[in-house]
C-alpha cells in the first residue's frame, strides 16, 4: 500500500543546525498521526516539509507515492491548520473558508455554498459574515479547520492547533477533531508538544528529539514500552531507573522505566520493597502525585485520591509488579 506521506532519509539543515536529521517516516492513508516532541525537536519542520514551506537539504519526500521535492506548496493537495490560525484579517469568515476554492477558480455561488457547508461541519453555521477579529480563539480554530477541509486535502496538517485554547475547549476540540477525522477518513498529521493530547488522539505517535525520531508506535507502545530514557521521561514523566537499580529486580544491566501509577506506596517500614522517604505530595484532583526519595534516587508515584497517605518526611515502602518494570533498548 502506498504511504500517505513517506520520508526517506530526509534532512533539513539550517546552516549548522540540524532541524531534521535523516528522518525515515511512513504515514498510512487515513491515519491520525501525531508528531510529539519538545520545542526545537524538528516536529514542526517535518510538518513544513510536508506542506512544502521547507525543502529538504537531503533525502526524498513522497505524498501518496508522488515525489514532492521542489513542488511548491500551492501545487500540493495538502492543507495546513496553522498554530495561530493565520486567518486573512481583511476577509470575512465565509471568504476565508472559500479562499482555496476561489484561487482554484470555482464559481462564486458554488464555492460559497461549499464554504457554508464546511462551516456547519465545524459547527459554526451562520458565522460567515463575521470578521476573524470578532471571533473567539476556539471559533477561529474551527474556521481555520473549515478553511483547510473545504479543499478536501489528501493530507491535513495541524500545527499545534489546540495550543492557544483553554483546557475545557481543548478537550472538546480533541474529541471533535478525532470524530471529524473518522468521518472524513482524511490522513491527519498533528504536531504537538502535549503528550496527553498525542496519546489520546493519535493512532500512532512519533516522538521527536534533536531532529530525529526516537520512537514510532501506537500510544500504548510509546507509553508502556518506551525504548529510550528520553521517551520514557517525555511521555508521561515515567520513572527512569538506572541500570544498577534495574539489575537488582530483573537481573539485567539495562535502563528501565517504571510508570508512576505502577508504584504502590505503603507505610510499612519492613518487608519486601524499596525503602524510600516521602518528600512531597501534589494533590491533582483525581489522583495524588507523590515525590519520593529512595536512597538518592528521585521517584514519582501516582495514587488514587482518597488513599491514606503517610505524612511528608516519613519512611515508606515501595512495591511494584516485576512486569510493569519495562527494560529499554538504550544501552546502559
Amino acid at each position: 500500500m502506498t504511504s500517505a506521506v513517506s520520508f526517506k532519509k530526509v534532512s533539513r539543515h539550517f546552516g549548522s543546525v540540524r532541524a531534521v536529521d535523516a528522518v525515515d517516516l511512513d504515514i498510512a492513508p487515513g491515519e491520525f498521526f501525531a508528531m510529539l516532541g519538545p520545542s526545537g525537536s524538528g516536529k514542526t519542520t517535518c510538518l513544513r516539509l510536508i506542506a512544502g514551506f521547507e525543502q529538504p537539504t537531503a533525502g526524498s519526500i513522497s505524498i501518496f507515492g508522488e515525489r514532492a521535492e521542489g513542488v511548491p506548496p500551492y501545487r500540493r493537495n495538502v492543507n495546513t491548520v496553522f498554530q495561530d490560525y493565520a486567518l486573512f484579517p481583511h476577509l470575512n469568515v465565509l471568504d476565508n473558508v472559500a479562499y482555496g476554492l476561489m484561487v482554484k477558480g470555482v464559481g462564486k455561488t458554488e464555492r460559497l455554498k461549499a464554504a457554508e457547508e464546511a462551516l456547519s461541519l465545524v459547527r459554526l453555521p451562520g458565522y460567515g459574515t463575521r470578521r476573524p477579529g470578532q471571533l473567539s480563539g476556539g471559533q477561529r480554530q474551527r474556521v481555520a479547520l473549515a478553511r483547510a477541509l473545504v479543499n478536501q486535502p489528501k493530507v491535513l496538517l495541524l500545527d499545534e492547533p489546540l495550543g492557544a485554547l483553554d483546557l475545557k475547549l481543548r478537550e472538546n476540540m480533541q474529541e471533535e477533531l478525532k470524530s471529524l477525522q473518522k468521518v472524513l477518513g482524511i490522513t491527519f498529521v498533528f504536531v504537538t508538544h502535549d503528550q496527553g493530547e498525542a496519546l489520546s488522539m493519535a493512532d500512532r505517535v512519533a516522538v521527536f528529539n534533536d531532529g530525529k525520531i526516537m520512537q514510532v508506535g501506537t500510544p500504548e507502545d510509546i507509553y508502556q514500552r518506551p525504548n529510550t530514557r528520553f521517551v520514557a521521561d517525555f511521555v508521561g514523566s515515567s520513572n527512569v531507573l538506572p541500570p544498577d537499580f534495574v539489575q537488582r529486580y530483573s537481573g539485567q544491566h539495562r535502563w528501565g522505566s517504571l510508570r508512576p501509577e505502577s508504584i504502590r506506596v505503603s507505610g510499612a517500614t519492613s518487608g519486601d520493597g524499596v525503602a524510600a522517604r516521602l518528600v512531597g505530595t501534589n494533590y491533582l484532583g483525581a489522583t495524588t502525585r507523590l515525590a519520593l526519595d529512595a536512597d538518592g534516587l528521585r521517584l514519582h508515584a501516582v495514587v488514587p485520591a482518597g488513599t491514606a497517605l503517610p505524612a511528608e518526611g516519613e519512611a515508606v515502602m515501595l512495591t511494584f509488579n516485576r512486569d510493569s518494570l519495562h527494560l529499554m533498548d538504550e544501552p546502559a
Binding site: 492543507n79 495561530d84 479562499y99 482554484k104
Partner: protein, 322 residues
C-alpha cells in the same frame, strides 16, 4: 528565611507616606485624574493646530469667496462665487488638469517603484541590511530639496550626464525619440514634463516607501504561507492577500505623493516647461498678480481633490485592514 537573610527587612507601614512637596502633590493629582494630565499635554498642540493651522486655513478659504476689482485691483470683500467661476476658464482648467494628471502619474510610479523595495525591507532585510535600508531611504531627505532639484537639472540637461551616458551606450536615438513625442517631449529632459515627472518621483519616493513598508511589516508571514498552502500561486497571493493588506500603506503613501505633487511650485518651475502647475498659479496669483481670491480658490482645488480621493479610497475598502 533565605530571602530575609538576603534583604534585611525593617518594620514598614502598609501605606507609604507621600513624597511631599509640589512634585509629590502633582504626581498624586495626575494619578487621581489621568484626564487632567492628558488635557495638559494636548493643550499646546491643539491650540497650535486649532488656531494657527486650521484658523489660517479657514481665513484662506474665506478669501476664496471674495473677488478682485479688475480695474482698481482692490479686493471686494463681498461673498461671491465669481472667483470659483474663474477657475473654470480654459487656461485655469488646463492648469488643474495638468497638475492632477502629473500627481496621479507620480503617485502610480512611486507606488510601483516603492512596493518591491518596501517588500524586501519588510520581509527579508534584517539587522545591518535593515539599517542600510532606512539610511538609504532617509538619506536623500537630509540634503536640501533645492540642491537636489538643481542637481537633477544638471543630470537631465542636454549636456548632462544622462545624455552622455545614453550616447556612450548608443541609445541616444531612444532619448531623441522620446523627446520628439508631443506633450511629454521637449528640447531636453530638463525642460520637458518627463523631467518634471522624474524629479517628482525621486523627491517623493521615500514618502511612499516608508508607509508601504510599515504596512507590509504588519502582515504576518504565515498569511502568505496560508495563501500558498490553500493553492494560490505567488501572483494570486499578491492580488488577494499582500496587496489588500498593503493598501492602507499605499493609500497613506499616496496621500503624501499626491498632495505634495498637487501643491509643489518649485520643481515644475526649475525643471519642465513654462506651462503652469497649481502651485505656480497660486504663487503668481498671490504675488505678482495680487489676486489673493483666485490664489485662495486655487488652493481649494487640491483640498477638494484629496477629499474625493480619500472618500473613494475608503469606499474601495482601503482602510478595512486597519
Amino acid at each position: 528565611m533565605t530571602i530575609d537573610a538576603a534583604i534585611p527587612r525593617a518594620p514598614a507601614p502598609a501605606i507609604l507616606p507621600g513624597s511631599g512637596g509640589m512634585r509629590g502633590a502633582l504626581s498624586d493629582l495626575f494619578w487621581r485624574r489621568p484626564k487632567f494630565l492628558l488635557a495638559l499635554m494636548l493643550l499646546p498642540p491643539v491650540l497650535w493646530l486649532g488656531i494657527v493651522y486650521i484658523g489660517s486655513l479657514f481665513a484662506l478659504l474665506a478669501q476664496s469667496f471674495f473677488s478682485i476689482d479688475e480695474f482698481s485691483g482692490l479686493i471686494n470683500r463681498e461673498f461671491t462665487l465669481k472667483t470659483y467661476g474663474d477657475l473654470f476658464q480654459a487656461a485655469n482648467l488646463d492648469i488643474i488638469l495638468r497638475t492632477v494628471t502629473m500627481a496621479a502619474l507620480v503617485t502610480l510610479a512611486s507606488a510601483i517603484i516603492a512596493f518591491p523595495i518596501a517588500y524586501y525591507a519588510a520581509r527579508y532585510a534584517r539587522g545591518r541590511w535593515k539599517a542600510l535600508f532606512y539610511l538609504g531611504v532617509m538619506l536623500p531627505l537630509w540634503s536640501s530639496y533645492l540642491v537636489k532639484i538643481y542637481a537633477w537639472k544638471l543630470i537631465l540637461a542636454k549636456e548632462g550626464i544622462l545624455t552622455w551616458l545614453l550616447a556612450n551606450l548608443n541609445l541616444l536615438w531612444l532619448l531623441d525619440g522620446w523627446l520628439s513625442l508631443p506633450i511629454v517631449g521637449g528640447n531636453s529632459l530638463s525642460v520637458s514634463f518627463t523631467g518634471t515627472f522624474i524629479v517628482f518621483v525621486y523627491v517623493w519616493l521615500p514618502f511612499m516607501i516608508l508607509p508601504v513598508q510599515a504596512a507590509l511589516e504588519r502582515v504576518p508571514g504565515n498569511l502568505v504561507e496560508a495563501s500558498s498552502d490553500l493553492g494560490a500561486s505567488p501572483g494570486q497571493t499578491f492580488r488577494n492577500v499582500l496587496f489588500p493588506l498593503a493598501l492602507p500603506g499605499i493609500v497613506a503613501g499616496s496621500i503624501f505623493t499626491f498632495s505634495l505633487t498637487l501643491g509643489d511650485y518649485i520643481i515644475p518651475q526649475i525643471i519642465g516647461t513654462s506651462r503652469l502647475f497649481i502651485g505656480q498659479a497660486v504663487y503668481s496669483q498671490q504675488g505678482t498678480a495680487g489676486n489673493i481670491p483666485l490664489a485662495a480658490a486655487f488652493t481649494v482645488v487640491p483640498i477638494v481633490i484629496m477629499g474625493f480621493y480619500l472618500w473613494g479610497a475608503k469606499r474601495m475598502g482601503a482602510f478595512d485592514a486597519l
